[in-house]
Symmetry: C2
Subunit: 208 residues, 2 copies
């Protein structure tokens, strides 16, 4: 069987982590880079990733996560913090980045900038946040696939008190949308032995 598929079958939303096992620095960089390299609409990357290392902070986040022990027990804990809006200054900053990376004059990107500004101007702040959030989910998909290939366990989480997270992480222009615990499964986690449940291929796919 193909290695990628084998590893995607191997992974599961880990419930109990082996608290003694830590992800090494090399793998950690690969995990992070897989998110940073994820594509996003227009390339805007309207989110950032907070790597929570402070044990004290993880304990506080745990109390806002409906009892999910992965927050404190996993080797690492990432929070995806999404930009609340998508406005002219964000687009201007991005245009500056494109110009720098591609050795262009900003004026050569006027058409691209105008198009993005006209698109985002049609969206309400709630719609901007929603669009931004979706981009973070692409990064999540990249991260989960990469973790599986590295034999690293992961638990994607949407279930936490977002407002409390925002305060604890001192977010102002961003909001916590997703979190991912990463590490190594405990041999005692019974969930690893449960059959993976997915829609059958003939239901999930339609070929026309």
């Amino acid at each position: 069987m193909n290695t990628i598929i084998q590893q995607l079958r191997w992974r599961y939303a880990t419930q109990r982590y082996d608290v003694t096992k830590k992800i090494n620095e090399t793998d950690l960089e690969v995990l992070k880079e897989s998110i940073r390299l994820a594509p996003s609409s227009y390339g805007l990357q309207p989110y950032k990733v907070i790597v929570v290392e402070s044990a004290e902070l993880r304990e506080q986040l745990f109390h806002q996560s409906y009892g999910q022990a992965q927050v404190t027990d996993a080797s690492h804990y990432f929070v995806f913090a999404v930009q609340n809006t998508l406005e002219t200054p964000h687009i201007d900053a991005y245009i500056d980045l494109v110009a720098t990376m591609r050795d262009l004059d900003v004026n050569q990107l006027n058409g691209f900038a105008k198009m993005m500004k006209s698109t985002t101007a049609q969206l309400s702040p709630a719609q901007q946040f929603d669009w931004n959030s979706k981009q973070a989910y692409i990064g999540l998909g990249n991260l989960l696939t990469t973790a599986a290939l590295l034999h690293i366990d992961a638990t994607p989480m949407e279930g936490f008190n977002s407002k409390a997270y925002n305060e604890l992480l001192q977010l102002n222009h961003h909001s916590a949308v997703l979190a991912v615990a990463l590490g190594y499964r405990s041999s005692e986690d019974a969930y690893q032995f449960r059959a993976k449940v997915r829609k059958e291929a003939d239901v999930f796919f339609e070929t026309i």
Copy 2:
């Protein structure tokens, strides 16, 4: 350099495909399976993937895609069709699937079913669709990472006339949210030589 990172750097949103090169059946199955195995909230998988093989239909979709030639020129074209709502019948069908796959009695899953129904009942239809859509973006991330590892090019697309797509694909309870062209880059696609633009790691990550 790590192979995964190397391949994520290799990939880019391909603009011009080599129309003579086709993805083989083995790779196609791996690409599809990488989406089907993607996780989703509660495991509900509130979307399906339409593999558009009909050349005539791809031509019609092209005309609703703002001139993006990838729709017709790439080897394959996938459309992610997201459930418009997330209601009791969806949850009941999922519970049946879990019971079958894990050889359980449906009654053993009453608590899980009740929890999901109570969560989704708090969401407006628009919020349900939005939540469903986000799950499709995880599948997209899995697909794009997998394609890159197989040296297959991909172009994720949000820019198309969704209403026209829904009609052409005869979607009733789903809406077209994302599309992905897949195949092999043309050697003449100038975009492959442009520097990849991503936020610097010290901006994109925050370690606390």
